[in-house]
Symmetry: C2
Subunit: 323 residues, 2 copies
């Protein structure tokens, strides 16, 4: 697909994944509009779009008029979301307002203003909940473990319904934990890895909760490539796909890798899961993403060690912008 | 369980299932508050509570202060919903506002005002979507076929989360098509059977769309007994249960039964599914409700022929109140 001159809307475009995608799209010559509400505690950071030829619109998907933003878009990459699990538990009304109700608003606006646009929706493995069998493919029953899982499933399903009832080309990518440049590292609101990275760079100990849980982290460039491939591959349209990353590693293994990559300077403590998080914890997860690999030709290219090293290197000169 | 003197809140209490439940509870001596928003096109009918010693509060679950209504309730039967499939497609924002967002409001109000109340939630088989294997048990993956299925699944899951995270005794009953006295029969907004009943009583032809689809209709007294049993059986609390009814019959069989029970006077035409409904049609369904039968001792007691006959008899002298 030739992105040059294509109008593209990226919701959540100043956030971690959205901003990386905007950089990639602008680099391919697309005319990119990034919409972001800069929600408190969210992943948006104004410096995330530094150096990208992107129009940033500050606006909340819950109330901004979305039609002018959709107008003429060939592709909508839909990443705006409330993504914090504890945030969803603390304020489920705000969580569903962004992740489900506002999705209906965007669907209705796109019907009017961009009836033919391809939509790639950022979904999540979260609503599979605590699974018994690994790896997890798309036939895994849905069992949301928290309010955020409930709202994100609803949002995805509205989009898939738009495909079934109105034939819009929609692809939903169910992402696992993602990491890399432009991740929120101020605290643990955007994966545990954010705060680990900050601690390592500040020479402070980080905390490992539990430690045996497996994760298949995806480096952000691989996520970006998955979004682009989803849009570019017509045979994917109408599909829901799990997206995995590096081979599964335990949180302890990850912690040891952080120590090694810091030249032995980083250190960490291990503690029990806090009770309020244990109740919504999903245990181990890794994706079976063979369906998306087969359909699109995509595969993750960045190994865990390489990805973590690149991430630490990227943040070192920019740390102050992310605290 | 001795219902005498127990404070009970029934949301959607002036609707079809809610009102029948209110009559049963009041008959057992419970102090019943029925909340109903009398949504346009919904199942509420002011005459539904005639003759029942029930306090009716007219108010919309989306904005009324729910805490005073929850205060002191031993049990909350939660039936308030937007239940129309085409209604959900036409106005998905109103649909999710009632079926999911307002559920969060009720959960939060109940935390404050009725922290120990048992909650029995009226859920639906709708979000199983189009299934391949019958009968359907609770392990069937969720695949909402329409906006109403999306919102109703979200609402149920918020309640089950309240059980898992805060240990509230919650039971969710996934109902199939229900029928009987106090059903909305003005039009087809509350199952196809409503408008069939009206047509039969008015000596007008009714329409059968398709005809081969199987349904396991539940007579309303059996639904009421399922709600009571769910509240009364502690081992059910925390569970999600399918509720079935009479043995599966095709829509054609049902139509023929209507003709027979009318003494041959009723007549019907068969037509193709309208295109807008075909896209969200679920095909055949009947429930495997053995889990709830085993847990609670409940079973449906009213056969289809008996139930339809009782329903027609009930409406004959009351038809004008339901047009």
């Amino acid at each position: 697909m030739d992105w040059s001159g294509q109008r593209v809307l990226v919701t959540g475009g100043a956030g971690f994944l959205g901003a990386n995608l905007c950089h990639a799209l602008a680099g391919r010559g697309a005319k990119v509009t990034a919409l972001d509400g800069f929600l408190f505690g969210g992943g948006a950071n104004p410096t995330n779009l530094d150096g990208a030829d992107v129009e940033l619109v500050r606006g909340d998907i819950r109330d901004i008029d979305l039609r002018p933003l959709c107008e003429g878009a060939a592709v909508i990459f839909n990443l705006a979301a409330q993504t914090s699990h504890m945030g969803g538990q603390a304020d489920p009304l705000a969580d569903i307002a962004v992740n489900a109700v506002a999705q209906v608003r965007l669907i209705q606006a796109a019907r009017e203003a961009a009836p033919d646009a391809i939509v790639v929706h950022a979904s999540t493995r979260q609503f599979y909940g605590r699974v018994e069998k690994l790896p997890v493919d798309e036939s895994q029953p849905v069992a949301p473990p928290d309010a955020n899982g409930v709202s994100k499933f609803a949002g995805e399903q509205y989009w898939m319904l738009e495909h079934r009832v109105r034939q819009r080309p929609v692809v939903s990518l169910r992402l696992t934990n993602c990491y890399g440049p432009r991740l929120r590292i101020r605290d643990a609101r955007q994966t545990f890895l954010g705060i680990w990275i900050r601690c390592v760079l500040e020479d402070k100990p980080f905390e490992v909760w539990g430690g045996e849980q497996l994760r298949d982290l995806t480096y952000v460039d691989d996520v970006t490539n998955a979004f682009l491939a989803a849009a570019e591959t017509p045979s994917c349209h109408g599909g829901i796909y799990n997206i995995g990353g590096s081979p599964p590693a335990s949180l302890h293994d990850l912690a040891e890798l952080m120590v090694r990559l810091s030249g032995g300077k980083a250190h960490y403590t291990t503690r029990e899961f806090p009770a309020d998080r244990a109740r919504i914890d999903i245990g181990s997860y890794h994706a079976d993403d063979s369906a998306f690999r087969a359909a699109s030709g995509w595969r993750p290219m960045t190994g865990l060690e390489e990805g973590i090293a690149k991430t630490l290197d990227w943040y070192r000169p920019r740390l102050k912008d992310y605290l």
